[in-house]
């Protein structure tokens, strides 16, 4: 591969290419403003930009394309040449799905209206894009990513667009990365029994079952049912679990949806390669989900995908979600990357961010280990506002100042190379996520509009299990085992990353301590991986239960074979600690190394990053109140403020800092 993905960005012929990028939609900007707009982009310090290539904008009637002949704004090749003249690198996203707040999300209408393309809900109806959430300005039938007719249309689009892109690939050209599809996940209608029940999807589901069970007899044994052939198997269309024997069919449907998404993204990646896009990495962006039906760890293990990122649009009040997402990316992915990092917002969003809010969330994400990001959008356009550059090629000063400062700061400290060194990895139990997905209901279109409480969607299953599965499966709770573990780490100001139980062993092995909630069931391969981690010398803390079943609730003894009772068990070179929720704080205290830098105010967040002799201390106040706190450390420290107003503080073992609401300060530390 000419362009390589590294842990800090991209690399071309040994040269590091940081991924600090921003989005521009060339076709939405007047052709004679392109140069002026790119001047602004470079004026802010950006060396990389990103653009979609919108299918419906270019294919104006079936088989007929406008590449600038009719509308000069559509001359994508001229845009690519302009980037090359200026030495700008480029990420391209040719779809087929792009959204981009376009009417019909960038799909040609004749594709959407072809019945052979359309997805189907559990009720057998079309799935309209408005089914879950608000998607102005018009509704359309969502395509099925299992439809061969859909892939035929995509192939025709790629046959037209890819030769143009192929002429501009690195090293000679500006393109250093290509995205396969966009936020592939049933257009946000991601609940287990919502969609896709089209014939094509059901055929793929049965292929999935064949691959999983190999024979119908084996499936019948697990399902405790008598099917004559795989084609007779019908998926659940709501939560129909009455007894343990019903679980396998439901778990398989949930797992199929993960497979469906992964298979679609991989297939589109292969199509891009076959149409000549070679030598540069292919990536994918997940919208926001890091539980089923998205499986980011397994998606990144697909050879066709070089790296996977997750988009992030957060306001200051929801900063916890931003921190969790970045911790997850840092714990799970090759290159912690946000392909769409909110910069401005879409026009139907309820809260357009202020410049201060954009600064706060961006610095917070960088604080927790974000290495690569694409600001979406860097330049305003139709149906998007609040960016540093207007569509006319002028700065919006209140917004532009931050990005200019950030790019300069990132360059000065090589921010993409700074390292956090958390020693704890918290694993989300993927099987608990699947359980939460399958034990739910009301997956009908538009139910999200009616203001119903979340608990109304849940289904209580009486499966005679030992632990409270619904409680442990809810990763938003603070009062379950997982919540207790995370709260304890935060209270002790111990930095940690997040991944899930599908993450590979090499990644687990980077951490001396791994913490994972476990109940009655867990996939055998996941148990095996956790066991191997402990055998290699890791400290594995799990609970409240010890798995003795697999997710289909068949007997499965992997961990149980080596752990006989609660408490610590020596396993190979390491330990497995099976602890109750009440014991979690004590075991965290005993096993996690205490932080060497902490503060009195637990509302204040602290993270240290180091690189090449530099140590940066990020201090964040994520509350609406001004806060003064004492930062403690070992020995004498001098802190020089390197983000914001220049200032130097020094002290023996303690320094007092004063923080405005919703701000991040960055200090360079000198011992």
């Amino acid at each position: 591969m000419v362009v390589q993905v590294t842990e800090t960005g991209l690399s071309l012929a040994g040269q590091e290419i940081p991924v600090y990028s921003g989005s521009i939609h060339y076709w939405r900007l007047e052709r004679d403003r392109w140069s002026q707009i790119l001047d602004c982009v470079q004026g802010l310090g950006f060396g990389m930009i990103e653009t979609y290539i919108p299918w419906a904008v270019h294919e104006i009637t079936p088989g007929s394309f406008d590449w600038g002949t009719l509308d000069a704004r559509k001359d994508v090749e001229a845009f690519l040449c302009l980037c090359e003249e200026r030495g700008l690198r480029l990420l391209v996203r040719p779809g087929p799905l792009i959204n981009a707040e376009l009417t019909d999300f960038g799909f040609p209408a004749w594709v959407l209206l072809d019945p052979a393309v359309q997805a189907r809900t559990a009720q057998g109806t079309l799935h309209l894009n408005t089914a879950w959430g608000f998607h102005p300005p018009h509704q359309f039938p969502v395509p099925s990513y299992a439809s061969e007719a859909f892939y035929t249309y995509i192939d025709e689009w790629f046959a037209a667009v890819c030769p143009i892109l192929a002429r501009h690939l690195a090293p000679a050209g500006c393109i250093v990365g290509v995205q396969s599809d966009n936020e592939t996940c049933y257009l946000f209608h991601d609940r287990a029994y919502a969609t896709d029940y089209s014939e094509a999807s059901l055929a793929l589901y049965r292929t999935f079952l064949r691959q999983r069970y190999h024979s119908i007899e084996e499936l019948n044994r697990v399902y405790q049912h008598v099917y004559g052939a795989f084609d007779d198997v019908e998926p659940p269309r709501d939560c129909e679990v009455q007894q343990r024997a019903d679980m396998a069919r439901h778990v398989d449907w949930v797992a199929y949806k993960e497979y469906h998404i992964r298979q679609a993204v991989v297939r589109i990646a292969h199509m891009l390669r076959e149409h000549g896009l070679q030598g540069v990495p292919i990536f994918h962006d997940v919208a926001f989900q890091f539980r089923t039906p998205l499986d980011i760890a397994r998606m990144e293990q697909e050879p066709a995908l070089d790296w996977v990122g997750m988009n992030l649009y957060r306001n200051k009040e929801s900063y916890r979600g931003a921190v969790q997402s970045i911790r997850y990316l840092a714990g799970t992915t090759r290159l912690p990357f946000v392909p769409e990092f909110g910069c401005g917002i879409w026009s139907h969003h309820p809260v357009t961010p202020t410049p201060d809010e954009q600064e706060f969330i961006t610095l917070l994400a960088l604080m927790y280990g974000l290495k690569a990001l694409n600001f979406y959008m860097l330049v305003e356009r139709d149906r998007w506002q609040g960016c540093p550059i207007t569509r006319h090629g002028t700065f919006r000063p209140a917004y532009a100042a931050f990005y200019k400062q950030l790019l300069s700061f990132a360059q000065r400290y090589q921010l993409w190379s700074m390292q956090r060194k958390p020693e704890v990895l918290v694993l989300l139990n993927f099987d608990l996520g699947r359980y939460a997905a399958l034990a739910s209901s009301l997956h009908f279109a538009h139910v999200d509009l009616f203001g119903l409480p979340r608990a109304l969607f849940q289904v209580d299953l009486d499966l005679d299990l030992r632990w409270d599965i619904a409680r442990e499966a809810d990763d938003r709770r603070y009062d379950n085992w997982l919540g207790t573990a995370m709260q304890r780490l935060e209270k002790r100001q111990i930095d940690y990353n997040i991944a899930d139980t599908h993450v590979d062993l090499s990644r687990l092995s980077r951490y001396p301590l791994v913490v994972v909630p476990t109940v009655d069931f867990m996939d055998a391969a996941d148990q095996q991986r956790l066991l191997a981690y402990a055998e290699q010398g890791g400290q594995l803390v799990l609970g409240p239960g010890l798995p003795y079943l697999d997710p289909a609730l068949s007997p499965c003894e992997v961990l149980q074979k080596v752990v006989a009772e609660p408490g610590g068990t020596a396993v190979g070179a390491g330990y497995i600690w099976w602890v109750s929720q009440e014991q979690v704080p004590a075991i965290v205290d005993a096993l996690a190394s205490p932080s060497t830098c902490w503060c009195d105010d637990l509302q204040v967040l602290l993270v240290q990053q180091t690189n090449r002799g530099h140590t940066l201390l990020f201090v964040a106040n994520p509350t609406p109140l001004r806060r003064e706190t004492v930062i403690h450390f070992l020995g004498t420290q001098r802190l020089q403020r390197v983000w914001g107003e220049a200032c130097v503080l020094s002290g023996e073992e303690r320094i007092v800092v004063d923080l405005e609401p919703y701000t991040v300060q960055i200090w360079e530390m000198f011992a």
């Binding site: 009417t103 959407l112 209206l113 809900t121 009720q123 109806t125 079309l126 799935h127 309209l128 408005t130 089914a131 608000f134 102005p136 300005p137 018009h138 509704q139 359309f140 039938p141 401005g344 026009s347 139907h348 969003h349 309820p350 809260v351 357009t352 961010p353 202020t354 305003e380 356009r381 139709d382 149906r383 998007w384 506002q385 609040g386 207007t390 569509r391 919006r396 917004y399 209901s441 009301l442 009908f444 279109a445 538009h446 139910v447 999200d448 509009l449 009616f450 203001g451 119903l452 409480p453 608990a455 109304l456 849940q458 289904v459 209580d460």
Partner: protein, 262 residues
């Protein structure tokens, strides 16, 4: 009303921050109000599936588990005085809404028509979704029919509408719509205008200059409303809208322009 290809450009972030709260279409459909203490009873053809209190979570102590008359059941619970609203929802009704709404691609309906259709499906069946107190049938006095009729009465040729809300030396909201044949074709803000047209703040002079500027650069204005934040809030939330504006004009807190009938 909403042109499927409408253009939304030059949106100043201050205006957009102020009006963002209007973009949740669910608020115009649902009975549940923000912060309200509600009880939600989900049943399927009379058999209770789940009961959730919006403050305390799942409730297992509420009986009976069989509902014969949803309205009477909801009324009885409401009269206990524990909740500000009781919702009794038939799961089959929610399924029917989804099934009916998605039966066809619905391309002939504009997005606003589609959401209004959902509203009719939600509340058109007496026992499907029972709310006590009942859904009022309007949102702070606004109804879809009223707005749709009003837009429909505008000239079919391009015409503009403007809203300005002024406070503390600046425009908190400066919104401009360009309509044609009953469709909103373009949405923009005062940022797209010549700054001189709005520099006089909340005055009669601004109204005159703005009307002239809109006519010259976008489309002849059909209506312009300029007011203070309090007048705007009252106009949105109180049902006697005309009276609020008349009173505000007398106090110099609102000015408006209406194109003469032709």
């Amino acid at each position: 009303m909403i042109d499927p290809h409408w253009q939304m450009v030059d949106l100043d972030p201050v205006t957009w921050r102020q009006i963002g709260r209007f973009f949740d279409p669910g608020q115009y459909l649902r009975a549940a109000q923000p912060g309200e203490h509600g009880l939600f009873v989900l049943h399927e053809s009379g058999t209770v599936l789940r009961i959730v209190d919006s403050k305390t979570g799942v409730r297992h102590d509420i009986t009976p588990y069989q509902i014969d008359a949803p309205q009477a059941y909801a009324r009885r619970l409401y009269e206990r005085g524990e909740w500000q609203r009781v919702h009794v929802i038939d799961k089959a009704h929610l399924a029917r809404i989804a099934r009916t709404a998605q039966a066809t691609p619905q391309r002939e309906r504009t997005l606003d028509q589609y959401y209004h259709y959902l509203y009719q499906l939600l509340w058109g069946e007496a026992s499907g979704y029972v709310s006590v107190p009942a859904h009022p049938g309007h949102w702070h006095g606004w109804t879809y029919e009223r707005i749709h009729t009003w837009i429909s009465t505008l000239p079919s040729s391009p015409t503009s509408l403007a809203l300005g809300v002024y406070a503390e030396g600046g425009w908190l909201i400066g919104l401009v719509l360009v309509c044609e044949q009953g469709q909103i074709r373009k949405v923009t803000t005062f940022e797209a205008l010549d700054a001189q047209s709005i520099e006089h703040g909340l005055t009669e002079a601004t109204l005159v200059i703005l009307a002239q500027h809109l006519a010259e650069t976008m489309a002849p204005p059909a209506r312009i409303l300029l007011c203070t934040p309090q007048v705007f809030a009252d106009w949105i939330e109180q049902e006697e809208k005309a009276q609020i504006l008349l009173s505000a004009r007398q106090q110099g807190q609102a000015y408006w322009y209406e194109q003469e009938e032709t």
